[in-house]
């Protein structure tokens, strides 16, 4: 098992290199650079801009720039942001990533709390009114784009009813302790609902088909024939088996935790990784773009690895060696 994990982690290195080449290439393929489109002060000599470009290494060839970036990242140096007055990329990401992770966990929580009980109910009462209703609702959530749902939620629940704040993560920086906690949760409700309900359909349908499958299996009949109660059959014998693919799915979700909210963050002006990423793409802030892309790549790879590890924990038939 440990050998397997180490082997998997070693494979990360070439994958991340390939990823970084693609992202770097795409970023460079976009026209312009960090100085494009800035209002150029007529009093500043264009030569100064050229000097600035040279200072950032932007006058070198693209492969040279890439190699320079890779070698400094290998030393653990992600460089400085071009647009944020030379702040280090690390401090920028550190500041934002917390918000995104909290939002991701919050929305995943909403997804699971809604999807799993409904999925189980639907499986036990297939083709019932609630089953059809939940399916319709689930696909509605899947079909409506996040930005649209977010805007409707802001319009109804924030502007018209005034129940929830429409943007940001906290009302005032002077809050602390429990008051700060509840205020932050309050701010997360709308983006959390937007993201969480969008993911509900997937989990619900998974849960429904898994539970239905397992309920019809031979070993459930055996459990009943042994005299196990309905509760025991459902919660022990059925769920333990039906949760296997769900837990695997949650491993994959780990990657989406960081990268899944880019558009929603934008709609709610939520200071997370997503807004930082879009801002840096617009401004051609190459060090930030590359660092975030790398981080998302690592998150997805680690998520897949976690999915495989979870899989072997919940299913004794799966063994890696």
């Amino acid at each position: 098992m440990y050998q397997y994990i180490i082997r998997r982690i070693l494979v990360f290195i070439p994958m991340l290199l390939a990823l970084s080449i693609i992202v770097f290439g795409l970023a460079k393929a976009a026209p312009g650079d960090p100085f494009t489109g800035k209002i150029l002060d007529p009093n500043v000599d264009p030569i100064v801009y050229e000097q600035q470009r040279a200072a950032l290494g932007l006058d070198k060839s693209i492969p040279e720039q890439y190699l320079h970036w890779v070698s400094s990242v290998a030393k653990g140096n992600f460089g400085k942001s071009i647009t944020y007055n030379g702040r280090s990329v690390e401090s920028l990401i550190k500041e934002r990533v917390k918000n995104t992770v909290y939002l991701g966990l919050f929305s995943l929580g909403i997804t699971l709390i809604v999807a799993i009980p409904i999925g189980i109910y639907s499986a036990r009462h297939p083709y019932s009114l609630l089953d059809y209703g939940a399916t319709t609702f689930g696909f509605f959530g899947l079909a409506v784009p996040n930005f649209f749902f977010g805007l409707v939620a802001i319009y109804l629940l924030s502007i018209n009813l005034g129940w929830f704040p429409a943007q940001g993560t906290v009302s005032s920086n002077s809050l602390s302790g429990f008051a700060e906690f509840t205020d932050r949760i309050h701010h997360m409700v709308l983006p959390g609902l937007t993201l969480g309900l969008a993911g509900t359909a997937t989990y619900m349908r998974y849960m429904r088909s898994e539970v239905m499958d397992v309920l019809g299996s031979d070993y459930i009949r055996t459990a009943k024939a042994k005299g196990m109660s309905d509760r025991n059959v459902l919660y022990k014998h059925t769920l333990r088996n039906a949760m296997i693919p769900i837990i695997t799915l949650m491993g994959f979700e780990f990657g989406a935790l960081l990268g899944g909210a880019i558009i929603t963050e934008q709609v709610f002006n939520f200071p997370g990784l997503g807004t930082l990423f879009i801002g840096s793409v617009v401004n051609r802030d190459y060090p930030v773009i590359m660092a975030i892309a790398l981080l998302l790549g690592v998150a997805i790879l680690v998520g897949n690895l976690l999915a495989d590890i979870f899989y072997s924990i919940v299913d004794p038939r799966i063994r890696y060696d």
Binding site: Y219, T222, A223, K224, A225, K226, G227, M228, N241, D315
Partner: protein
């Protein structure tokens, strides 16, 4: 053999309501008894209602199926009127059941031990440790080598024959009065089949259980059972002590089944067959259910279904050839 049956099934009807106006009469008015220590076989083709009979006794009929009529008396207690919760203390405790597919009949994510002890602890007041010891003892009884080790293993680590032994160990763990085995050897290798059947009979003797053996293998019936019921189209068409049924076969369907068996004493070019297939349970012919395939079919057979009649002592047949009367 005592006079008091362990199991007494009367006029059992289990129907499946497939669609509006489409009712599959999977089990249609069958009655039989099983006495203590007796081995009774139910034989018939696929779709004749054997397994549904067994599942009806266990009260494990799922929607859209339903037991619509009849009583199932286990030691004079009617299982058909028990509440679902009361039934859980009958299953596994007073009736044990073994299924056809040992490969899928055990839960893949729990150890053998946990699947055994949960049954024991559900029905018997034993501590975890005592149940664990009892499970090891049972595994040893059913011929599992190294039971102390096997008890910690998962089903996928065992072979089909071993898994069926584990299933038997679970089924007999609470010493039931009745053991139902639904084609327990169909999915196993021929060499393993005899071992499993011998084990079943050995356990039956040891725990003094009645055994209801569902099979389509007449060789098994001949070797292992005291009494046979032949089912066709959800009904019993012939019932007799095994020796008598095989020697003095009455019903054309039973004769057909027997002629399809190879016989070492006779040189035959081809084995006999019964033409056609079992009619679907939602579309039985109007008269005798075997009339569509019977070589001796008469006009009368197409009009009405003969009743099950006692021709000789303990030998019942449902056929007009023996003038069973026109009652049913």
């Amino acid at each position: 053999m005592s006079n008091q049956p362990v199991l007494d099934v009367n006029n059992l009807k289990t129907y499946f309501y497939l669609e509006k106006d489409v009712v599959a009469k999977a089990v249609d008015d069958i009655s039989f008894s099983v006495y203590p220590g007796e081995t009774v076989a139910i034989v018939g083709e696929s779709g004749s209602g054997k397994s549904i009979t067994a599942l009806s006794i266990m009260q494990l009929i799922n929607k859209p199926g339903k037991i619509v009529d009849g009583s199932i008396l286990l030691n004079e207690q009617d299982l058909a009127v028990l509440k679902p919760r009361q039934m859980t203390s009958v299953r596994g405790n007073h009736i044990g059941m073994i299924f056809q597919e040992p490969m899928t009949a055990l839960n893949p994510v729990f150890t053998i031990g946990s699947q055994m002890t949960e049954t024991i602890r559900k029905h018997k007041k034993l501590s975890k440790k005592q149940a664990h010891e009892k499970a090891i003892e049972l595994l040893r009884t059913v011929g599992i080598p190294r039971p102390e080790q096997i008890i910690h293993e998962y089903p996928h680590q065992l072979s089909g024959g071993m898994r069926q032994r584990v299933m038997i160990a679970i089924a007999i763990s609470c010493e039931p009065e009745l053991l139902i085995a639904d084609e327990p050897t169909t999915a196993l290798d021929v060499t393993i089949q005899a071992q499993i059947l011998d084990l079943l009979l050995e356990m039956q003797k040891k725990y003094e259980m009645a055994l209801l053996l569902i099979t389509h293998d007449l060789g098994v019936v001949y070797e292992y059972t005291d009494r046979v019921m032949v089912m066709y189209g959800g009904q019993i068409v012939e019932q007799a002590p095994t020796k008598q049924l095989l020697k003095l076969t009455k019903h054309p369907y039973t004769q057909g089944l027997l002629s399809s068996l190879p016989n070492i004493d006779q040189d035959m070019e081809r084995l006999g067959t019964i033409k056609g297939t079992v009619p679907p349970a939602y579309n039985f012919p109007k008269g005798c259910r075997f009339s569509t395939r019977c070589p001796f079919v008469m006009d009368r057979c197409k009009e009405s279904n003969p009743a099950l009649t006692e021709l000789e002592k303990d030998h019942y047949v449902r056929c007009f050839l023996y003038d069973g009367g026109d009652k049913a």
